[in-house]
Symmetry: C2
Subunit: 247 residues, 2 copies
């Protein structure tokens, strides 16, 4: 069961087609596909909406339209309204990250909604009154007002992350074991001697420096093999050079 | 000292003015103010950039321009490049949330950079090679490619959150203590009797239901006073009604 399918994004009376399109893309980027627009404006620039939706054009076409917020959330249990303003009980707001597990808990068995207001005026108090939770997105005092598509994106992103469905790419190469690592360091040590990079009294100090550099992160077997190959090649060159000198 | 001042956002050869403007706003929303554009396109729509920057117009004007990525990050220690593609060592990528504390640790004493590529082609391998870290933003298989301004927004958001400078609005009203709570329940109990809502044998069961409802979240003193006032008013109406009946 995909929890994310139980999440509806509700846009109340949005102004700009570009935002509507960007939001379709942002939703799909986070595996969310249920979009409702309340009180849509007949003069919205739908060419712009299509342009900004990019490959989420089907999501744009699949949106549902409702006359009122009450209708758009009638079958929803948890209804979370995003608000940047303060006052009118907004001091009880959750951050998107705090809200995500609360919303997903309900989304296991019920349908929920995240509600966003107009670009210029946000949600009215009577709309916020329909919400069971208020979401406040953390922002800097430098500029507290977010672009609508950024606000929707980050709420979707937090829901997607909390749902735990994303599998990050992982390092597949095995880590180098001590035997391989020490064989690699032995070649480097020989290279430092044969290329006459260090004199005897500095050698062990320099080797310790190299050990620190290479052990700062995890070394994989391929890493060690690259490093060993490179040092072997330098040894070969040093050998050639000495032969040339003696000819 | 503000760690966020040591973070530079670097955009490599971006295509669209709208994204540039949105990014200025997104940076300022997260308290980040250092913007560099590498290899700017002479035909970029700067009217659109100004429109999308909204109140971050000054941020847009303050951007620095560089011919190459190497110049834009020359004085940077940690350089993190965002990439959605796989291959070429990208399996060692960090999520923005994993990267944030690593980047901020360096930003205590050094200047760092977050680097983003072109809308259509991202960062080239030779550009990614200049980066000390690779960032991969979690996204759904449904649609893995993010809008550029969304990608920058979410990386800035994670840095801002990890910096811990945001003070969320908090409930300032004191929680109700047991004495106040019990006085409130006593009035509700009386109201249920006087309005003849329940018969004796159901009363304690109903009271326990009410206790469950009201104790599901934290009740504040003002909450209790609203609830007590409402019940007292119902009691008063019930009293009036009984007087009328007897008149």
């Amino acid at each position: 069961m995909d929890l994310l399918q139980n999440i509806r994004i509700v846009l109340v009376n949005p102004l700009f087609g570009g935002n509507l399109g960007s939001i379709c893309r942002a939703m799909n980027n986070n595996g969310i596909t249920d979009l409702a627009v309340v009180d849509p404006r007949p003069d919205m620039d739908m060419d712009e909406a299509r342009k900004f939706s990019c490959n989420a054009r089907a999501q744009l076409e699949a949106r549902e339209e409702y006359a009122t917020l009450a209708e758009a959330v009638a079958d929803r249990t948890v209804v979370a309204g995003a608000s940047a303003r303060t006052g009118f009980y907004r001091d009880t707001a959750y951050s998107p990250r705090e809200f995500a597990p609360i919303g997903l808990e309900s989304a296991k068995d019920h349908k929920i909604a995240l509600v966003f207001g107009r670009e210029d005026k946000g949600l009215f108090n009577e709309e916020l009154a329909l919400c069971t939770h208020i979401i406040q997105i953390p922002s800097s005092e430098l500029y507290t007002s977010l672009n609508l598509s950024h606000a929707v994106y980050v709420c979707c992103y937090e829901m997607f992350n909390a749902a735990g469905v994303f599998q990050p790419a992982e390092e597949t190469a095995p880590e180098a074991d001590n035997d391989l690592r020490e064989r690699m360091f032995a070649v480097w040590r020989e290279m430092m001697i044969e290329t006459e990079f260090v004199h005897d009294q500095k050698l062990e100090h320099m080797m310790m420096g190299l050990r620190r550099i290479f052990n700062r992160g995890k070394l994989t077997s391929p890493d060690c093999k690259i490093l060993m190959g490179l040092a072997k090649q330098s040894l070969w060159v040093a050998d050639q050079w000495k032969k040339e000198k003696h000819d």
